[in-house]
Point group: C2
Chain length 477, copies 2
Amino acid sequence: MSDTFVVVGGDAAGMSAASKAKRDDPDLEVVVFEKGEWVSYGACGLPYYVKGEIQSLEALVSVTPEEFREERDIDLRTGHEVVSIDPDERTVTAEAVSDGDSESVVQPYDRLLIATGAEAVVPPIGGVDLEGVYTLGSMSDGKELREYVARARDGESFQQPDRGPACRFLEDCAGPVAVVGGGYIGIEMAEALAANEYEVNLFQRSGRVLTGFSEATSEAVADHLREREVALHLDAEVEELTNDGDGAVEAVVTADDRVPVEMVLLGTGVRPRTALAEDAGIELGETGAIATDAYRETSAPDVYAAGDCAEATHVVTGEPTYASLALTANRHGRAVGQTVAGRPTEGGGVAGTAAVKAFDVEAARTGIVDEEEARAAGFDPVTETIEANSRAGYYPEGGTVTVTLAADRDSGRLLGASLVSEFGEGAVHRSHAVVAALTEGATVFDLEDYDLAYAPPFNTTWDPVLVAAKVLSGTLR
Amino acid sequence: MSDTFVVVGGDAAGMSAASKAKRDDPDLEVVVFEKGEWVSYGACGLPYYVKGEIQSLEALVSVTPEEFREERDIDLRTGHEVVSIDPDERTVTAEAVSDGDSESVVQPYDRLLIATGAEAVVPPIGGVDLEGVYTLGSMSDGKELREYVARARDGESFQQPDRGPACRFLEDCAGPVAVVGGGYIGIEMAEALAANEYEVNLFQRSGRVLTGFSEATSEAVADHLREREVALHLDAEVEELTNDGDGAVEAVVTADDRVPVEMVLLGTGVRPRTALAEDAGIELGETGAIATDAYRETSAPDVYAAGDCAEATHVVTGEPTYASLALTANRHGRAVGQTVAGRPTEGGGVAGTAAVKAFDVEAARTGIVDEEEARAAGFDPVTETIEANSRAGYYPEGGTVTVTLAADRDSGRLLGASLVSEFGEGAVHRSHAVVAALTEGATVFDLEDYDLAYAPPFNTTWDPVLVAAKVLSGTLR
């Protein structure tokens, strides 16, 4: 009898693992339980769907359930929620929900992957259950938000009498609305809503947006958000969402302010979905995500965890870290698939790399940018920020790229980078060189000498990344 | 008395060295001899000047002679040609030419940098001295070509009766003209001339353009050149340029063809200018360029060579190589400047990285792409080429990137890459990750696991570079 590989969760990590395992070992029986109806979808595309740049949710799906079942021969059971794992008996129990009836299935496994993902963090404040308060994590969240935007655009809520100050610049502007959280989801949603002519208020608890990026990046993005009429409320922790009396949200309340809104999007981060693993006695790491070894195996034998529910190893510190990002989920899922198919595969570490488009600005970050975080990891960080032309100064197009680089004082080892430029001027793709350097344990002196491609339409002779390396090297010497 | 650092040649390597040496050691006396009037200019910008996108030659100058003299305190002597070096006496002899009188100067040195650059190769065929035959290496070449284009655009030669076939698509097209050589200068000049509505014939001796790039890149660029009405003559070695009887070029003759043209641009490569070094008994390497150690010191003590006249060490093979590229010249010049100022600096190797824009396509190459070249260097190369979306498939903009990756079969070590995409879709900036990986001696398995930045407006979850690494890894395993 062939082995059975069971996967809990049918998104990036889960479906990558299932597909790779079945492809490398066609004799393996592969069973996937997914509680929802959608699998293998690009949640990163949801803001563009809400914005209206993508016309259907189906466009975000890379492989359909039918394709998994028929072409890839995977026993994919959507609408099945796994409610418990028994590592001793090597079984999972799933409940199939249809038309209100629930049916229980006990499925034995030889190897198991927990790929339960992450869930949106809802802040512990009053009013988060009111009508008009949304999060954006799942496809159904995306659907609801798009419906809201479409309904409002059709006029239902477009006659809001109390227009905020930003609205005076926009003849047709709707809203006002609030985005709570200045991370990349919050910023992408601010763009999506502003593109639909809402008057957007963005509330950020700390003093700057994109806190994982450098201050220079945060400032450049904040300046651009303001240029695009987003009302930025910094150092503004939201204390309450108030009720209009009919169960709908009416205003966002902070210590200093009360801002009337008709809709609130909570973009206050995600946390790993670990309840299932915890209930099964599987160890969590210090980050709160499921702990694994280099092969993503958990404390329970033959039970793996990958993607947004699990820890990964940071390429700079070598320590466990938590980063919920699509590429890691795909890569680690795929590695688990290879491992269970007979070829043990580590799948590599993470650098916490992230990219974001904010209207006409793009930004990326990788590694350890924050000096306090670097010190906590045992480094003595030195940081430099430069601004340089994105193309040859004489070339007719172009803008600037601002690059922040961090390195360890004694060793010169690269720790991290944060880059920002106009959209299309290459901050994001330029970060790739730094990711490679970080991962290889290179120093800033090494980076300074890289023979990067140069031609006038693409950069200056010394690419901005090299300029930053040159300046930081000079400081360290 | 302070030491004297003498530099021969006032472009990228020479002025970088002079500036850095003086900055790091202000007591040093720094003397630069430059035979022309222009120093520190971006020759890479000349095609865009000829095209008309850059309005003045001065725009290509990053630092003026006056700034070098007054602000940087460098004894810059333009119009001075160094005619001999005496390594035993530690002197150079320069001739100042003004108004036909020539004056000889003997200048002692403690340290000397030879930065004589490269010169355009003129093929050994008849007719290369005819009127209407140009090369593009110097500022004066650029000036002449721009004058030609401007004159023709003003009508002087616009009524050419014998229009070629491409011209039927272009109402106002001028020409026909020829570009000989399908390297990046040839292609950039084809774009510059076509943008001025010349009917452009591009002659390439071998079967494809951009021979240092992958075949997939060559094909993509060739297809695009044809789309833009450039008549590509491949496998077409030029045998002669014929005389119209009045001393001007009339036609390009190959074994199979005779193509009437009113102008010819020779873009048939460059060679290092080494005569001065050779006459002084300084050793050349096997590549024909000046041999140096890791600090760019030549066989003559305290005599350095950097930039387009000198060899450099290839990061993949560890062997001397010759690559005439702006960044290397800048970087090695700067390293020599640091060395003579008291801090010995190697300045790193080269990967032979190059980038080119061809109309609305961009391409880059790095390392060893050619399998024969890889075998000659002792590797057993395996190459894969993939085509992937440049942005998330559902994102409204975007195109494709074609990536060729080469790695060694046994070790998996990355050898080189060639990338091509629509202009703006990131082939060039994506090459940076591969340059970093090559330089660090990484394998394709390492590259596959890099945590590169991802967001839908910038790439697919697996960036095309990662897709290529994944496919090549699969082939190697």
